[in-house]
Amino acid sequence: MNIKIFGKLTDIFLNEKYQLNKKVSTVLDLKETLENYFPDLKSLNYLIIINNQNAKESDPIPEEAEIALLPPYSGG
């Protein structure tokens, strides 16, 4: 599963994408898995986006979904 990484989160993943090789079924599952691999994530605010939409923790993760992790926006 490919995950797009943005903003200050790239300092944690040291990349703009991350390949997760574990199967996860829900957003909560994904979140816990990532925070287990990258404990620094726990102290940060970020959204998990599935197919351009903000996802709730209970949402399932569809096959071939486009997943992205977004820290608070700071454009303008």
């Binding site: 903003g7 986006i49 351009n52 992205a68 820290p71 608070p72 700071s74 454009g75 303008g76």
Partner: protein, 145 residues
């Protein structure tokens, strides 16, 4: 990555802004334009000066979101025109990184729509700024509420 509307590479040129203004003087139904320009400040943070801001975006999502915002703003206000442009990549201090332009028959819709657009763009578009200091170190920009 290829930049699509509303994104432009680097600082938004003043000539680009004045061309947009100029092109709207041919519309004789317009009575007022409201414009906001966001400009990169040379903030001093812990004795280091910001030399520029490097902007990145989750472009597909930003474009989809802006289309939705545009629709909502046109439903809410009696607007004739609306243009939004945002920089990606490095914008040096003093450079314009956000350009919002609205036009309407009477002044109020243009003014109210422009104000609301600026707030929504800052809050809802997935764009991030990285403040680059003169010694090449950086920190991630955080927007004030």
């Amino acid at each position: 990555m290829k930049k699509k509307y509303p994104f432009l590479e680097g600082a938004i040129p003043i000539e680009f802004i004045s061309e947009i203004i100029q092109s709207h003087t041919h519309d004789n139904n317009i009575g007022g334009h409201s414009i906001f320009l966001g400009q990169v400040r040379a903030d001093i943070i812990e004795e280091k000066e910001v030399e520029g801001i490097e902007f990145t975006s989750y472009q597909e999502m930003a474009i989809e979101k802006l289309i939705q915002i545009r629709k909502e703003i046109f439903t809410k206000y009696d607007l004739l025109c609306m243009h939004v442009h945002h920089s990606l990549g490095l914008v040096k201090k003093g450079g314009v990184c956000l350009f919002v332009f609205t036009s309407s028959k009477h002044r109020k819709p243009a003014i109210l729509a422009c104000d609301e657009l600026v707030e929504r763009i800052k809050k809802e578009l997935p764009i991030w700024g990285k403040e680059i200091f003169s010694d090449s170190s950086y920190q991630w920009k955080e927007n004030k509420q």
